[in-house]
């Protein structure tokens, strides 16, 4: 069985990529939640995030962040949602890790707001302790591989006047 995203990667579906590099690529979703909905994927076919190496995770989110900045510049948007459906229970339809980058503007008719659920103090504390114990074993690979990305990327993004404005705008919000 072929994977749709692998076919996209290999250019078999006639959909042009908006971004590609050594380890990641991105396309516009053909059936977008809103216009400008971008899907960012690792080239390697793995099903869930946990199967990616730390290095691949870094690459995936560097691309995602760069594209989210580009979206702010290229389209008149007011925000973005980033959603990863990790597993079919979380709504994942294609078994290939994908980061959905969804531009948002007021009145776009989308809403991802959930109703908070109530749990007892005991339930919450049990999970807290359990998670904290598991988290103690975490170690991170601080990148032994060489960065594949080319230098100009960061510098150029910083120079962008649009990016500056987006940041300024969000500084004006107070809680």
């Amino acid at each position: 069985m072929g994977c749709v995203y692998c076919e996209l990667r290999d250019g078999q579906r006639g959909i042009k990529k908006v971004y590609k590099d050594e380890s990641t690529f991105a396309v516009l979703h053909p059936n977008p939640a809103v216009p400008g909905h971008v899907v960012v994927m690792p080239k390697e076919h793995v099903t869930i995030l946990e199967q990616l190496s730390d290095f691949e995770v870094e690459q995936l989110f560097t691309t995602t962040n760069a594209l989210s900045k580009l979206l702010f510049e290229a389209l008149p948007i007011q925000g973005t949602n980033i959603i990863i459906q990790n597993g079919s229970t979380a709504g994942q339809e294609i078994p290939h890790v994908a980061v959905h980058l969804i531009p948002r503007f007021e009145g776009d008719g989308l809403s991802f707001e959930w109703e908070p659920k109530k749990y007892s103090d005991q339930e919450m504390s049990t999970v807290e302790v359990l998670f904290r114990e598991l988290a103690k074993q975490l170690t991170f690979d601080h990148g032994t591989k060489k960065e594949v990305r080319l230098e100009p990327k960061k510098e150029v993004l910083k120079e962008e006047p649009g990016a500056e404005n987006v940041m300024l705008r969000h500084l004006n919000r107070i809680p």
Binding site: K17, V18, Y19, P32, A33, P35, L49, V57, E58, F61, N65, L70, L71, E73, A74, Q78, G79, T80, N81, I82, I83, Q85, N86, G87, T89, A90, G91, H100, R104, E106, S111, E113, W114, P116, Y119, V127, E128, L130, F131, L134, A135, F140, D141, G143, L150, E151, P152, V156, L157, E159, P161, N165, V166, L168, R169, H170, N172, R173, I174, P175
Partner: protein, 264 residues
């Protein structure tokens, strides 16, 4: 979530006046002081902390979408993802991956949703950038499914060209499938043709198909620092010489602040 008290109009006007005069650094400092999550991170407000290291901090959400819903944030105050430095962001998502696997292992969850809202329009409530990690089970009614709509191919194509053009502008042709045919055509076109007849500023905004960027043609395959930088600098000079740069969305105006404040 915390709801701010409603401020009287006079106070509001005063506050807006103050905000307007602040430099970006002062604004950030101001926002940081008001930020509940900065206080949680510094320990002034008690929380159910799950993980902490030099860069990141994770707690259980007190209004969880599901049991085990975690919030992961950078310790430094940033309001949206584009502000976070790449190095911190990379680390943050490695932690996110690990916390997600903790949720899968610890709670025997069947999946996780990783969710980020950047900006009030995206449903962001606090001004501290954060990643939600939500353990998922069948039929848990967490509304994080992504709707799929049918759109016209033409409008999709228009956005694709717009975005690819931005990517190509910043990184060169190797990073996108902008339009192979037009790239070839542009490569064959005589360099320098009407380069001086058309002001650079205007060329920037002509239709994507109109081959505005002849000066970028020759070094097609190899991306070099200099080649990217020089044309961009020219553009920004043009901006200054001509009329004042238009702010596309009118951000940081008083109206915008009022709207944002009102929306909270």
């Amino acid at each position: 979530m915390l709801k701010p008290n409603i401020t009287p109009d006079s106070k509001m006007a005063e506050l807006q006046e103050k905000l307007k005069k602040m430099s970006p650094e002062e604004l950030r400092e101001f926002q940081k002081k008001q930020c509940v999550f900065c206080q949680i991170i510094s320990g002034k407000i008690p929380s159910k902390k799950v993980y902490e290291d030099a860069v990141s901090f994770s707690v259980l959400d007190i209004n969880p979408a599901n049991l085990g819903h975690m919030l992961l944030m950078p310790k430094e105050h940033y309001s949206i993802m584009p502000q976070v430095p790449d190095a911190d962001l990379k680390h943050l998502f490695k932690v996110a991956k690990s916390l997600s696997s903790i949720a899968l292992k610890g709670l025997k969850a069947e999946g996780t949703s990783i969710f980020i809202a950047n900006g009030a329009a995206a449903g962001q409530r606090a001004t501290h950038f954060m990643v939600h990690i939500i353990p998922r089970t069948q039929d848990d009614h967490v509304p994080l499914s992504i709707p799929q709509k049918n759109v016209q191919k033409e409008s999709l194509e228009k956005i694709r060209i717009q975005l690819s053009k931005k990517v190509e502008e910043l990184l060169g042709p190797g990073y996108t499938e902008f339009d192979t045919k037009s790239v070839q055509e542009r490569a064959q076109a005589k360099p320098e043709s009407n380069r001086f007849e058309q002001p650079i500023l205007e060329a920037e905004y002509t239709e994507p198909k109109a081959e505005p960027k002849q000066q970028k043609e020759q070094p097609k395959t190899e991306l070099k620092k200099g080649h990217l930088k020089s044309p961009r600098k020219k553009e920004s000079k043009e901006f200054k010489k001509g009329e004042p740069r238009k702010e596309t969305t009118g951000e940081s105006s008083l109206d915008e602040i009022a709207r944002v404040l009102g929306g909270n």
